[in-house]
Amino acid sequence: MASQEYRIDRRLLCLGAAAVLCIAAYMTIGLRGNIGFVLTLRATKLVALLQVSVSIAISTVIFQTVTNNRILTPSIMGLDALYTFGQILLVFALGGLGYAALDAQLKFGGEVLLLMALATGLLLPMLKRGTDMGLMLLAGVIFGVLFRSLQSLLARLVDPNDFAVAQSASFANFNDVRTDLLILATVFTVIATVIAWRARHMLDIVALGADSATGLGVTWTKTVTGLLLLVSALVAVSTALVGPVAFFGLLVVAIAERIVDTRRHALLMPAAALTAIVILVGGQTLFQHGLGNSSTLGVVIEFAGGLAFLILLFLGSRR
């Protein structure tokens, strides 16, 4: 389809090739023992990693378009902290036993819905007021700290047995993904990605800002609400699978934008998703086989992403 509308971009092809290479390396390096078992194990993890890459990349691109700001990401605005907070809120409300007795898939679905409601309820009024972007950013960061504190407060109020369950959810870990949620998460990601892809032209219009977009026939509030719902669903998926990652989305979109050199969503969205796959799957392979300690990938990504954020912020404000 894409080839009919646009000639496939060469840079996109290179990115795709790199992503395929990373995936192949992830699946094949160091294979030994029971090959069938190892491959199944790796394939499940790979699917999770791919999902996280795609959902973080796409949610960040859409979020930046809606807020009309290149340094804003859902997690900087505290969305993933909100998710973990919602999780512990459920533990608190239902009690440890009640929470554990819930069906994992049902619970996940409920959490996704809860996040969508909370996020839209919080963000929409802020977007509508059109307040200062710096103020919004700062407020988002503070919301993040607040939700994390509330989460740890509630975590200490629940039974010590549930404390461990809640605590493990608050660290990003690419090594130990929640495979039990994989099927449902895949469904969510695929649906959201299809919606995002179909909305790519509309997103180009939304990027022009509220006034121009309205002039071009976009019903602003309805569209933005829908996009925010989409973003929060994607954030919920990635947070549920690996935990919160603050600066990964920012890093990925910033790199992708440098590579394809456009904000056109038909190019930017796939480019960002492919970049995310290269970094995440490639990095995971590197850490697993090259450096021996794969759990630190999260920390390294935070560090690099944080630096990227500082540079973008600094360059952006000096321009």
């Binding site: 710096g134 200490r156 560090f303 944080g306 600094f314 000096r318």
Partner: protein, 325 residues
């Protein structure tokens, strides 16, 4: 001159001091072991408890609260931005980095030496932040704290990475999680150095007030700007490093207290310094007592309580204050 300035603040400072006194007594009474106030001086065990645990803990909370609030106030004056404080400018994280470095290179170092090194790295980290912050455009006041928070996050990620490699992550959490439950006699006395810094701040209060008007104006009024900047940085770094080493990081104190006080009684530091110090002590001591009571007989670290209380107050400040701040 200062007496006329002090007049409107007098009722505020008296009310605040009274509240602090009540909290002080309350903090001495709240705890797991039974310590009836009427028999403290006759019962040897109760008196021992008071001297070894309750009193040091209360004093530590008081000193840390006052210190962090003043550090925030000075930081805001130096950066000329209402939304910065040591934990949002990389100061506290740099201090952690210092503690980590000492622990790695010289595991047998005592608390005092750790504090000195932590002060050094805090000074370095804050100077870098300050140099960068001065280059950000003054028209966008929210960029500076945002920059500081992420800058602190990057240093924090580096600390986590090194600690992870050296298997010190759990050890490190002692400094990243502000908590007064480990404070005993003999483990908090370093904080009195922070109290000395408060006196220094009081001495230079007038010059700091003038510095809030910017470099050109203060040089024109006869201030040695560079030297005062260094002195202010030293005060901020010493206070935050000591707090980090002794009890760990506590967010928001330096942010919300000076902002609220500034709304109530203005920006003349000679008048506001004591109020800020007392209010900071009230906030931290109050949160610590709250943390001890919420889940009695268990405790919730003061950092967690402060994250909730301070976060809500800060958001309220952000959205109530007009955007030109």
């Amino acid at each position: 001159m200062s007496s006329t300035v002090l007049k409107p603040t007098s009722p505020v400072i008296w009310t605040a001091s009274l509240v602090l006194a009540v909290l002080f007594v309350l903090s001495l009474c709240v705890g797991v072991s039974d310590m009836p106030l009427d028999r403290v001086f006759s019962d040897a065990a109760a008196f021992e408890l008071l001297l070894v645990s309750r009193l040091p803990r209360t004093l530590a909370a008081l000193l840390v609260g006052a210190g962090l609030a003043i550090a925030g106030l000075i930081m805001q004056t130096l950066v000329r931005n209402k939304y910065v404080e040591p934990s949002t400018a990389g100061t506290a994280q740099s201090a952690e980095l210092g503690v980590l470095i000492v622990t790695l290179l010289w595991p047998s170092a005592n608390l005092f030496l750790k504090s000195i090194i932590a002060t050094g790295t805090a000074l370095l980290g804050t100077s870098i932040f300050l140099m960068t912050a001065h280059r950000l455009p003054p028209t966008q006041p929210f960029l500076v704290p945002l920059f500081g928070i992420v800058y602190g996050g990057v240093i924090g990620a580096a600390v986590t990475f090194v600690a992870w490699q050296a298997d010190l992550l759990q050890y490190l959490s002692v400094w990243t999680n502000g908590d007064f439950s480990g404070v005993l006699r003999g483990r908090y006395e370093l904080l009195w150095i922070g109290a000395a810094m408060l006196v220094v701040a009081w001495v230079i209060a007038d010059r700091l007030t003038i510095m809030a008007m910017g470099r050109d104006a203060s040089v024109g009024l006869g201030i040695d700007y560079a030297r005062m900047l260094q002195l202010g940085l030293v005060i901020v770094s010493v206070i935050s490093a000591l707090s980090t080493v002794v009890v760990g990081m506590i967010p928001f104190v330096g942010l919300v207290v000076p902002n609220i006080v500034s709304r109530l009684i203005g920006d003349n530091l000679r008048g506001t310094l004591p109020v800020v110090a007392v209010s900071g002590a009230i906030l931290v001591l109050g949160c610590d007592i709250l943390g001890r009571l919420i889940r009695y007989p268990y405790e919730i670290p003061v950092r967690t309580v402060m994250g909730c209380v301070g976060g809500v107050i800060f958001l309220w400040l952000l959205f109530r204050r007009p955007a030109h701040g």
